[in-house]
Structures are given as structure tokens and as C-alpha cells.
Symmetry: C2
Subunit: 218 residues, 2 copies
């Protein structure tokens, strides 16, 4: 394997810290999951009808809807606070050692995300791991979200790699489903209690520790 | 307008009665919305990667995941109870008079749903409104869910209608977004407190009463 593509939100970065922000406004523990799932559905709908708005715009629209549904006002300050926290997610503890393991083995680390390039750079910088990445690509370049195959193929081309030399790492079964269809090897990192969708293509590798997962791949 | 296409779940049929079933097992009020939104995301993912499983199978898989996430056992009995309730959703009070209004005006009423044909027939029969429909079509025929344009075009062809003579009625902004792209007139029926997605194409008509909405169209 010459390179590993990493999904970012939830895979490398701990989305659950956003929960504190949501807890300030909502009691329901499912609100964060609902917001993020709706955001993902919005992103697939955009691709299906052939339009595109960037992930930040979609995240903001989904947030506005969430507050509206709950008859709560969403001030500019609260919006900035929540979306700002999204840019400052910490990396999971196992991320740095795993990325260093790749370096030692001359395997490239590449971030491939639904977020914009600017957002990817902010997130990786804030998490203190940007220097461990060889490259990063945003779906902005292809104007279609994961799991459309465009982004996996685009990132492979840009990095001058054949898909057979790339493993995609994500904690989202649907991201791996798309990567698999695009010809990549796939590796699932478990980050929370959730079933890998029984009707999606299985991943090639599974683990709940990132270094252990990468050791299986390389 | 020669025909009105109706979405079914949430649009004609009251999904909130499913809430009683979910309330038996979960405390969070967002669990039903989370389950349904995840199910919708699953359905779009399938189309994006070029595979297909019917809506009942996807609904069941999403239910299994929900119980697993909460470390709860899902017995065959509970599963049948919840999915059985899904087949017995009541029609909203404004549905029958609205369908009768169409009959009086010689406008065809056609159900167009993500559900299978068998499920559509069960749902419409159980809701006591099947005799008011001229036809019904399932995405099963095209193996791609809404809002892919296939189903809107297929249903129009099957009914020997030009898309300019059809209005799509739904309470889902994404369904209307797809129908609009396919060339249909679109009409949004508000069923719960929710924002029409500000980044989706606007609907041609809006109302919170179905007859009032149809009077705008015909």
C-alpha cells in the first residue's frame, strides 16, 4: 500500500466534543446525531440533483433548521460558537501514533474530506496533526460529496496513485462503500457503538485502534 | 394540471403515530427522526453507489442499528410490531377531502413512493384511501430512490403524462427538489415545524392544508 486516504470528521477528529455545544441548547442526546445525519442526507441530495453548495453552508442550514424545529432563536453568536467548535475538534488519541507509523513505513497520509480545503487546513492545524499529512483534498474540487466516486478517483489522480495502491480509512460505512466501488481497499475504524450497515459492501479490514488497523493494511 | 403525484410517508400518512412504538423503547424524542433520516441517507447512498435494496429491508437494517447503538436487544416480535405499525399509518384528516376534490375536477391522483408496490397497497388500504387513487408506482421499478429523477419520469411515462401536466405533492423538500429537476410542478405541504431547505429549489406552491394546496394547483 502506497497511501492511506483518511476521512476526517468522526474518523480522525472527535465530533463528540461538539456535543457540549449542543447540550447548551438541547436536552435530547440524539440531537447531534440527528443534525449530522440530516447534514449528510442533504449532501447526498445535492449530488443526486446535480447541484452543489459547500459543506459549511450545508452545516449552517441544517443548524438553522434544528433551532427552528425547536422554536429556538439562533443568534449569530451561537451559530459562530457551534460552527467554530466544528473547526476545533481534537484528534483521537490514537491518531498521532498511527500517522507516525505510516511515516516510518513510507506510506503517504492523505486527508480526503467533504469539508472545504480551507476547513480541512483549519481542522488539521487546530488538531495539531497537519504536519503529518502529505496532502489533502476536498470534494469542492469535484462538486459532489462522498460516496459519489468522483472524489476518490480525483484524489488518486492528483496524488499520481493507482487505486489498487490506496486504502481508505473511515468510521462511516457509506464512505467505505463508495471507496470500495471506486476500487480502493477499505478499512473501518470503529469510533462509537454502531452497526456496519449489513447491506453495504463489507470493509476489507476492521479495528477499533488506528495503529492496529494500519498494521493490518501495510 | 392532469395529475397529482403524492408522496406517502409523512405527506399523506401520519408517521408520528410510529412514535408510540419508539417511545416504548427509547426516551429521546429525536430517536424517530434520527431513524427516519438515517434510513433516507441509506437510501440515497444505495443509489449513489449503484446498488439497490428495497425500502423495507433498509428500514429493518436501520432499526437493528438503532437498537444496537442503544445496547438493546431487538426481538423478532418488537421488530414486527414497529414495522407493522409503519404499514398501518393513518391518513391525515385533510387527505380524503383533498383526494375527493381532485376526483371532482378530473385530476388523477397517483401515489409515488420509496416503498415497494406491496407496501404502498397495504398502506393505502389500511389508511382507507386506496379507492381514491388512480395508480401507484414504487421506486422498485427503477431501483433508485427519490430524489433521483428516474422515478418521476418513470411514473409519468407509465401514466402517459407529460411532466408539465403533473404536480408533485410532498412534505419533503428533497423530494420536491428532485421532482422539480425532473420538470414537474411542485407543491409543499407543511406537516411539522421544519424549514424548507434554503439551498434547495423553492417549491411552486406551499400550504399547510392539502385541499388549499390543491386548489392553488388545479
Amino acid at each position: 500500500m502506497k497511501a492511506v486516504f483518511f476521512d476526517m470528521n468522526e474518523t480522525l477528529l472527535n465530533l463528540s466534543v461538539l456535543k457540549k455545544q449542543f447540550d447548551k441548547h438541547f436536552e435530547d442526546k440524539y440531537v447531534l446525531k440527528y443534525w449530522f445525519t440530516k447534514l449528510l442526507h442533504n449532501s447526498t441530495v445535492m449530488g443526486i440533483v446535480g447541484e452543489y453548495k459547500n459543506f459549511g453552508e450545508l452545516a449552517e442550514a441544517a443548524l438553522e433548521n434544528l433551532f427552528y424545529e425547536n422554536s429556538k432563536a439562533l443568534s449569530q453568536e451561537t451559530k459562530s460558537e457551534i460552527l467554530g467548535a466544528f473547526k476545533k475538534l481534537p484528534a483521537y488519541d490514537d491518531v498521532r501514533p498511527a500517522l507516525e507509523l505510516l511515516k516510518e513505513n513510507d506510506v503517504r497520509a492523505i486527508a480526503v474530506s467533504n469539508s472545504s480545503l480551507a476547513m480541512i487546513e483549519e481542522q488539521l492545524s487546530n488538531a495539531g496533526i497537519i504536519e503529518l499529512f502529505d496532502a489533502w483534498y476536498s470534494v469542492d474540487a469535484v462538486s459532489r460529496y462522498k460516496p459519489f466516486n468522483d472524489i476518490y478517483q480525483y484524489a488518486a489522480q492528483q496524488a499520481s496513485l493507482h487505486v489498487r495502491d490506496i486504502a481508505m480509512v473511515a468510521t462511516h460505512d457509506w464512505d467505505l462503500f463508495g471507496a470500495k466501488k471506486a476500487g480502493l481497499t477499505t478499512a473501518y475504524i470503529s469510533r462509537k457503538k454502531e452497526l456496519f450497515h449489513p447491506l453495504y459492501s463489507k470493509a476489507d479490514y476492521y479495528d477499533s485502534n488506528l495503529s492496529e488497523l494500519l498494521l493490518q493494511i501495510i
